[in-house]
Symmetry: C2
Subunit: 338 residues, 2 copies
């Protein structure tokens, strides 16, 4: 498998993206094309041991993390690293693209270059959350801020295929993120989605409350992108907050520091699964190609893990299964802008 890595994407690019590629090439069985300005990438690459599985693909332009009018930028600047990377997937030179760049730019580039899978209304971002009770795939994590119920059903379908093909869970349980468990709960969108999911062929297990997401009641948790993004970010914030509070307590006394030194390695192991560095990237599903979006703050470890996620997805037959799932529907897809 060959993966096109947007070497210029992310707050810590290109140093950490290149280092992540070097780590991935050593540990995982894959080829990586570093996409970006040749000179810059080469200079970074020289800091590491030579690896024949890593190549450089030149891209003259870069889209910054905090750029205005991102969609126009992606449309016009065809030589931007993210565009060159998605183009490699389109042409078959690479089997997946990974970027820690601006999420909107990655989505726009994927849509323009790869297009949607026939029958897909809107691509969505799915994030695999590794809880103790099992892995949970939250979809949509932020691609679509205003959704229709039919789109939520498609997110559920894509999430189910992902958990089945990539994670290996047969007939994954699908839950709808909601404010209560009863069928009558929720806003208008969620109530309509509930009815449609109940009538679908999916293994729909009903509503999942925010407080229960981590309990693994459902392997696929469906939500609109606005709520999904808020849920993910609030969870991230609360986790940071608790760890800060605990650290503050520990630092408040030498006695506590002694106790903490004993605990630290085990705590670190237990909690690291909560961190994005470990679980790698989110999957943009519904486009004609494997696209993995890594966290903007990704370090080399996070980049490596995003490359692993992309490799697994590329080898799993995920795309073909999503195509088959949508092809089975007779309903023609409405044209969707960005």
């Amino acid at each position: 498998v060959k993966i096109a890595l947007d070497a210029m994407g992310g707050d810590r690019a290109p140093a950490e993206t290149v280092r992540g590629a070097v780590l991935a090439a050593q540990e995982l069985d894959l080829e990586i094309a570093l996409v970006g300005p040749g000179g810059v990438i080469e200079a970074e690459l020289k800091k590491h041991a030579t690896d024949r599985r890593i190549s450089i693909v030149a891209a003259g332009d870069t889209i910054a993390m905090e750029e205005d009018r991102i969609v126009q930028a992606v449309r016009q600047r065809r030589d931007a690293s993210i565009n060159v990377a998605t183009q490699m997937v389109r042409s078959g030179e690479a089997q997946a693209v990974v970027s820690a760049g601006n999420t909107g730019a990655v989505m726009a580039s994927a849509l323009f270059t790869l297009g949607r899978i026939p029958g897909n209304e809107r691509p969505a971002i799915g994030t695999l959350l590794p809880y103790n009770a099992g892995r949970v795939f939250l979809i949509d994590a932020g691609a679509n801020l205003d959704c229709r119920a039919s789109q939520l059903v498609q997110f559920a379908e894509m999430g189910s295929v992902f958990m089945e093909k990539v994670v290996g869970i047969a007939s994954p349980r699908v839950g709808l993120l909601n404010v209560g468990e009863e069928a009558s709960k929720g806003n208008e969108l969620i109530q309509e989605a509930y009815e449609r999911l109940r009538e679908s062929n999916l293994n729909f297990v009903g509503n999942v409350e925010g407080v229960n997401v981590h309990k693994g009641i459902a392997e696929v948790v469906v939500t609109d992108g606005f709520t999904g993004n808020i849920a993910l970010k609030v969870g991230e914030g609360i986790a940071d907050y608790i760890l800060e509070t605990v650290t503050g307590v520990i630092k408040s006394s030498p006695l506590f520091i002694g106790a903490a030194i004993l605990l630290k390695p085990a705590l670190k192991r237990a909690l690291k699964r909560l961190q994005y560095e470990e679980y790698g990237g989110a999957n943009l599903l519904g486009v004609n190609g494997i696209v993995v979006i890594a966290h903007g703050r990704s370090d080399a470890l996070a980049v490596k893990n995003a490359l692993r996620v992309a490799k697994r997805a590329a080898e799993s037959g995920l795309l073909e299964s999503i195509r088959t799932a949508f092809a089975a529907k007779s309903e023609p897809s409405p044209a969707a802008g960005l």
Copy 2:
């Protein structure tokens, strides 16, 4: 100040509600009317030392936590404890009502019996979150699952008055819960609310991302009730999850247990602020009376703290200030059903 406590509300009523009332009467300077079936309440009350500040007000009926057709139940069963309690506020016998019962029932009873403050479109639930960086008032935490932008502006107004009158923060900063900081971010509802808040007289500081809520960038965080409820519950779930994980690690080795024993009291102090038992109840704002909704799982400590919240609100002039804020608007309020 006299507070009507729905003695039958909550999973652990009446034992814990009565015990909470006894604690509150001892520690706080207030009178409490325990509302519920006389015999049952009296039997509970006998387990504690006599306190002249606690009285019993008979109510022949009770609305269960998991009742169907809750709004109809509240409308028809006038002798239900929550209805008798809100009636006491309406008649001026009590200055506030506290209930750990079904949130929908408390809202319905408050709306039917107390009505809305003139000019208020929809009452909303505000929850005070006590973070290290300062207290944050999240509104709406679940009362209104489908909102209009004008309602979000009213939530911001009520939240500002609350933080000013009850918490004592002059000109509180108001933020809008959103998926990014830039003004252009968000779904349609949030984008429109952004514009209206920007044009308002409030101290609007822009969008607040989920990951930053606990940082105290804004003292009032405004959101629709669906998103607000999901955000609160996800935060609660992640906090539980981390504490479980940490406990699991500690229990995995006798060495760790030793270390943990040293740390435990300080950690407990630091983290207890995150728990609903400590921060008491949420405020239903926009109705003609002080209404505090405690967590359904409330124990005596949580009930006591909810009574404290109600007392503070009743003594603060909160209601009068919200009335003044809405009276200043010329716009007539549309009739709003439940």
